[in-house]
Subunit: 326 residues, 2 copies
């Protein structure tokens, strides 16, 4: 891995995006979301995804100019059309809208249809918490997870994000409905490690800790077996019915063609109920009482480390970013 | 098990509640929520919990006359005080309020502090879906779940409920953050069965499928290991900060003294965005595409069976209900 200074990474990505047609602020924000994800140590969903993002733009599957459009709203609940725009910009825009609704009405809910991959879901949790809001959001995905009791990938691993403001170290949980993402499986395989717990089934239908066997069978385990299977289904149901968009079973089972995704963004403004300090003190006490690592803790640590040492970037990806940025 | 006709069970429970001080409609509703839970086959959280409920009333820990009080509201977000009233009536009232807010503003959010055990969480999911709304709610609990990596029960198993209307067979997911509830562990033990998957640790810290070993160690596994551990923490954080009430670590670790609970009720009115039929068709297609059992399916089946055959009730519990009702 190369270690690229954060500012250089951000600027190079922005230049690459401009050469792909992104304009001013959109190039800067989209680049920042890619760069920050890798800065935070979520290496599977940051800059490493940039090459596929570029291919999907060049194939006309992501429209760099499209901005979300309000289709219908009632009070603090709105339905937006993502028009196949860049998934991270669409999601940022919709969480931003949910925050505005919550500022006005205490709570805000935005359902987004017809969008593309949002990259790291946690991004929009950090966005909400950073603004002082509780945020909850989720996305459906292509079919990549067999329901419990089936060997066919009919559910999505539908990442769910919950974020609670607690300056300066927010709590941000970002969890897919599979016990291990395909990115995580690849990581274990590349390091020659077995999984710490069963992660799926091998080709013969036996539960296994062998990451390669699960990659081959395409049968990762849902989180909590039947429980994660049910949760993945219900998240898809809510996203598709509120947004009026596609459900997992309607999304092409090919990451290069994964468009038409449905998402939900919820925001709550705790300061409308009491002082932010009171909420923050409650949160501090809860995190301390658990006496364990909290969701988001690792991101804060790796962010500091990568700011100091440079952001780890795969040399091939970096070459591609440089070539595109000219 | 006895098989008691549903109407007789409901009426006897209502009579028992009246003799405990519940008045008119509150006795009928509280009795219905106990009876319907057992009718739906959720035997761990229905009539079998009635004796403890009675003990807590007699010990003065549940106030049969208390009704929730609005403390503060801003738009579609409200904070209520449960005043240690009956947990199922309090929760019903707050979901009802969330539905009213959602009818007005598309989405409604009610945070409830200072309540008591809501019995079956799924009840309030069925309540929302039955009214045509998407409902999400959760509760914190006493500390009964060690965080992943710890052997101390510092988290709650914090049940989470998500419900989607799909008449006549709504989708209602009701999941605790432990892989198996203590009620489920007791059930496996009594039937002499081992768990289908690892459910916790034995006294020596080894993962086990032996339900009795987990009951003894008090170390059930979080759903999805570190993932359910994180989710339990974040649900507690949101419930306590929005309600301004107690967090799990502040709730007495004794089921007979489990009061001061915090809960969140969210409702979404999909008919403000489009016709209910369209949402229902999307939901039908998603459920069909998964090709697996969906959350809530078993309740619909058991409800029909128990309506026809009578509701299974433990003889000792039934004797107690009869004695109290006089």
């Amino acid at each position: 891995m190369l270690r690229i200074p954060y500012q250089e990474l951000h600027q190079r990505l922005a230049a690459a995006l401009r050469s792909l047609g992104f304009t001013g602020d959109r190039a800067l924000l989209c680049a920042r979301l890619f760069a920050e994800t890798t800065l935070d140590g979520v290496y599977t969903h940051g800059v490493s995804r940039f090459p596929r993002f570029v291919r999907m733009i060049r194939a006309g599957r992501i429209d760099v100019h499209a901005v979300p459009e309000l289709l219908r709203g009632h009070g603090a609940l709105e339905r937006w059309d993502g028009r196949c725009g860049p998934g991270n910009l669409n999601a940022w825009c919709c969480m931003d809208r949910a925050l505005a609704l919550a500022r006005r009405d205490g709570v805000g809910a935005v359902a987004l249809a017809n969008t593309t991959h949002w990259m790291r879901g946690g991004t929009y949790g950090w966005q909400a918490a950073g603004a002082g809001f509780i945020g909850i959001c989720w996305t459906n995905t292509l079919p990549n997870l067999p329901p419990w009791g089936s060997d066919q990938p009919r559910l999505g691993n539908n990442p769910l994000v919950l974020a609670v403001p607690r300056p300066p170290a927010h709590v941000v949980l970002d969890m897919a409905m599979s016990q291990f993402s395909y990115g995580a499986l690849a990581g274990y395989r590349e390091r020659g490690e077995t999984l710490p717990v069963d992660g799926g089934f091998d080709a013969t239908g036996r539960m296994t800790r062998d990451p390669a066997a699960i990659e081959a069978s395409q049968r990762p385990l849902p989180v909590g077996y039947w429980k994660g299977s049910g949760l993945a289904l219900v998240l898809d149901l809510i996203a598709a019915t509120l947004s009026g968009g596609l459900a997992t079973h309607q999304i092409p089972n090919d990451p290069e063609r994964e468009t038409g995704i449905s998402q939900v963004f919820l925001a709550f403004d705790p300061t409308t109920l009491g002082p932010a300090e009171a909420a923050s003190q409650i949160a501090d006490a809860i995190v301390a009482s658990a006496g364990s690592r909290y969701p988001g803790e690792r991101a804060v640590q790796l962010r500091a480390e990568n700011l100091a040492l440079g952001v780890p970037v795969d040399p091939a990806v970096w070459r591609e970013v440089q070539e595109i940025s000219g």
